[in-house]
Symmetry: C2
Subunit: 338 residues, 2 copies
């Protein structure tokens, strides 16, 4: 790596760079979170809407993303937020090989975005909106701890951690051992499962060679697991990693910003609201506490109308925009269980 010591003059960059914009478009179908993802054909993995940023076509990065969403998913996005910029070399294995031989294949840096939208459950569109948890089955704790974790993930990760137990003892004290990381991220032993650490869990599984990232460099892929189970569906390129980032982000954000209402219809029942929040945060909530939080927190107000859907009619509510000006961080300071 040539060091131009403190000189502010840099040689022109010798490979072309391409900026890829990729969007996670999240919606709810009933109580289940879904994302827009299309597969080229029945064989290939689904991919998120994406495309190259072109400063001549797109006035800003975000407008570029909105443009791709409109073209590919046929959706006009409302809420959009930038997540993270992924730039690891080897993002596309094929490109990498070429690039290292000095060709001019562009290096790709991708910027991930999260968009929230309301989608009418058109039956035709359903195939294009797979369930979010089909990609991360270990993240759905609404029916209690997923069996997948106890039956597959933890046993395999224990083997993976045992491999390094010896080194860990002598190693750098600043870094956590593999065993500690597994315990921290997947809970168990009275340790809580922190639903926000979606990306960290995904990266641990990737590091252990238990999930595939299509076309990524095969650093760890050689570590063969003869009886490796299918841990969720994979996606094109690094889209599954971007999706993990999105899920972690929105789970965190629910707690201090009223983003959930971007996904709710204009009026809704509190039970519906609770179920959708549970769908995203991935665990059950205590009903009474949820209602208290949401009502006494001034997040919603009754419309006066009611639904009738089988049992006792439910009161309809709407989002109270005024909270935005009343409280610094209006969110659903959600606790656990219920």
């Amino acid at each position: 790596m040539p060091d131009a010591q403190a000189s502010p003059i840099h040689k022109p960059v010798s490979t072309t760079i391409e900026i890829n914009l990729t969007g996670v478009i999240l919606a709810m179908q009933g109580d289940h979170p879904v994302i827009y993802a299309a597969a080229r054909d029945a064989q290939s993995s689904p991919g998120l809407p994406s495309g190259p940023f072109d400063p001549l076509r797109h006035r800003t990065l975000e407008l570029g993303l909105r443009n791709f969403a409109a073209e590919q998913a046929k959706l006009t996005l409302g809420y959009v937020e930038q997540l993270y910029t992924f730039g690891d070399r080897g993002r596309h294995a094929a490109e990498r090989a070429l690039a290292e031989e000095g060709s001019l294949v562009p290096h790709v840096v991708s910027i991930g975005y999260l968009a929230l939208t309301r989608v009418e459950a058109g039956a035709a569109a359903r195939a294009q909106f797979p369930g979010l948890y089909s990609f991360f089955p270990w993240e759905d704790w609404r029916k209690g701890p997923p069996k997948l974790i106890d039956q597959s993930i933890r046993p395999l990760l224990d083997i993976w951690a045992a491999d390094h137990a010896a080194e860990a003892a002598s190693a750098d004290r600043r870094a956590l051992s593999r065993r500690e990381r597994v315990a921290l991220l997947f809970g168990g032993d009275n340790r809580p499962f922190d639903e926000e650490k979606v990306l960290e869990r995904y990266e641990l599984l990737y590091e252990a060679g238990l999930v595939d990232e299509a076309l990524r460099d095969g650093r760890e892929a050689a570590k063969a697991w003869p009886e490796r189970p299918a841990l969720g569906r994979s996606m094109q390129a690094d889209h599954r990693r971007i999706l993990a980032t999105a899920l972690g982000r929105i789970r965190a954000k629910l707690k201090y910003r009223p983003v959930i209402f971007e996904i709710m219809p204009p009026t809704f029942t509190l039970t519906d609201l609770q179920h959708k929040v549970e769908g995203i945060s991935g665990h059950h909530l205590h009903k009474q506490n949820f209602r208290r939080l949401v009502e006494s927190g001034g997040l919603v107000e009754a419309t006066g109308e009611q639904t009738n859907t089988g049992g006792r009619p439910a009161a309809l509510f709407r989002f109270r925009r005024e909270v935005l000006t009343e409280r610094p961080a209006p969110g659903l300071r959600l606790g656990r269980s219920g």
Copy 2:
């Protein structure tokens, strides 16, 4: 990246794109936060360490940034985190003019980073480490509400908000009015000052034409304030915006991650810890509550040693690494005042 049906083929991007990496390197000098920023000469505004990402030289984006920090600030960074990717067209006004005539001047997208480091207060280096609050004097509430806000900022923003009072009433109900935004971001009238909203405040001031962003497009610059006061020092390019992002991020992160210890020496007194946290978060803390939080939260442990610096000797503490594995979000759940 060719895609399924919707918009399969994208034309090759016709302008070259350059990715700029820019780092905010934050340290403490005593109780005061400082950043690395160098000016070319006495006349020009200071700038953060930065440079173009070159995939042939830098294995990852972050390594590229570390490289520029080493070259320009002569610092080997420890903790580094990505902040945000800024891509507005017109990031460099001069470039923009050329690019719109179809020339091949690159469009610049910049990725901001935050790094935390310990710096020995070498007197020689001091000039290169200006105080953080010299760029955002309205963010330092340690001595109470800054007079600048009451004497300059709020009166000017009130004028700016009054300009739009009429439109606001009729306008889109989803958007907050100027008056509401001012009240929300700068507090007053029994509204709290939310110290995390650093970027939002900066952007409001920028929108109102009260702060300069060197070389940015002059959309709002025409709005002349005849008696405009100096609201903090400006920086090169969009560096001040990146700095605002960094300050907002670390103020938020302090509360749920033990990042402060990246800046602390290996052992420290609780008073010193409190003062440094106050320096970053920008307001005073209640002493007893702070100590209770930090000790009962298991964030620190006594070393058994003591200092003697004038008064009663203070017990020395060190960071307890074990919290990382004990609690999901170990931070200083700081309250207000003191």
